[in-house]
Amino acid sequence: MQQFLQAAVIGVSLGAQYALLALGFTLIFGILGVVNFAHGGFYMLGGYVAYSCVSLLGLPYPLAVIGAVAATAALGWVFELYFLERLIDDHLATLMLTLGLYLVISTGSLTVFGPLAMEFHFPVTGAFHFGSIYVPKENLVVLVICLTALAALWAVLFRTDLGRGLRALADDRAVAMAQGMRPKLLFPAAFALATGLAGLTGALVTPILALSPGVGDPVLATSFLTVILGGLGSLGGAALAAFIVGMVEAYTSVYFGGSIGALVLFVLVLLLLVFRPTGLLGREVRGA
């Protein structure tokens, strides 16, 4: 029984982490129709920027997180404006551009920061113990931040003009532009919002786990799984799917061991995708 509850706690904390990542990924696809292969790169960059702020500039951790979000959002803004914007309608070209960016980011960070894991710790450590169940404090912090980010994102999208503009562009770009939505401003904003979210996740999670050049790779596969399950372009779907993926990973790993867990997850998503191509809540995705 203890294992069962513990797996649930882990599943929720994994879910929170995957939700933050999946939201950014889905936002970019839903609004710009871009499959962001560099998502793991922005996650890693968020970790390294936060690490640099803390250890090189001596900033307190919260400031470092803000710095990380700002840096990754800025890079996202610039990359969208000067690289993606011209080819936004060609799904293959934007996919390849983000892939190229990812290779540059991961090679750059390996060259600058070297191959070894960095010394980078989350300020809050220790765990609450309820009998034999433990809930790490840092995971709670991440969970809280994730829920606030979810709420903030929901508020931005459904309660502000920027959000209304972004959703309009997502539904039908031609009509939205006809009514004065300026993609020149809104597209980079959407991309920056998404990469900022990935940077935020990196700044929060890499001190809890580990910060080294390879951490970006598994992020891509997990983001894909979460977003496919949730349905491309659907924010609610992505958040829901993130917690499902977290739970499945937690329970399969606890009860079947690491490698089989990953296999179960992949096969599950493959089957679901084929029999329900729009995912849980997604809508028929636009043809590439």
């Binding site: 390849m96 892939l99 960016l101 090679t107 060259t111 894909f224 496919i228 990953a262 296999l263």
Partner: protein, 316 residues
Amino acid sequence: MFRKEPVLGGAEIAALVTMAAAFAIPMITKNVLVYSVLNQALVGIVAAQSVWIMLRMNLLSFATPAFMAIGGYTVAIAGRYEITDAFLMTALAFLLPALAAVPLGALVLRLRGTYFVLVTFVLSQIMQLLLFESESLTGGSNGIAGVPAVTLLGTEMMSNRQVLLFACGIAFLATVITALLTRYFRQHFAAIEENEILAESLGLVVWRYKAVGFVIAAGIAGLAGYSLVNMLLTAHPSSFSSESAVDFIAYTIIGGRGTILGPIVGTALLVYATNLFGTHGQYAQGLYGILILAVILAARGGIAGTAAAAFRRVRG
């Protein structure tokens, strides 16, 4: 008004001549570095052609390593039972992945472009896990070492030169298949790539051509797997990772997705460049990234496409 299409166009002929020229290299030199670079390039060219076939229909596939693994491990497992005949193994290395691609294709080809990319990415991840979990068949994480050499018409292709010649043969065969397929179905693939709905409204059975492309691309990938295992004399999971799919896609896009010469030019140059990196391996991936950005932004046709366009402008 509507003349019959010539069986092979200019680009296809150039590709076949180039691949034929590759046979000459093992004859001219005995330099093992040239052998190594050329062998890696030949494996890359065949794998890049597999990616290129699907790109003819605007379908970007990350599943190449998965089908390469099927081809490669078929040869390695057959090697355990001393079955090494070149013709039999070439046929098997092509047919088994192609057969595996039929049910997979039925599952995957109904998906819109973006989903197709994601699913093929998941497919190559699943293949890696399957290789690890199937210890008895594939040697699990240790892979299968000491794969016996190919026997072609009775002679064992043991030496470096013979291995390279065999790789040239596989690459030439793959180029022939790719050229004939993409030439015969040129109009169908191009119509699907540009406007699937219009093509279907005119009567084109779109899914059938996608399936044909997917199955043959899988077979071609199987040949690449065969050539790779034959080069290394081992079948090891690390050779068929999903990262290698990124390399093959980079070769095709940078080389030029518009012409069959693209995968050949792209692979040859990038494999050559990577070997120059030798000591500073980590920069190779960074170079690919920069080259991809440059090609997508500046030279959409890739190297071969841009060269062709430049020549046409010069010729006026």
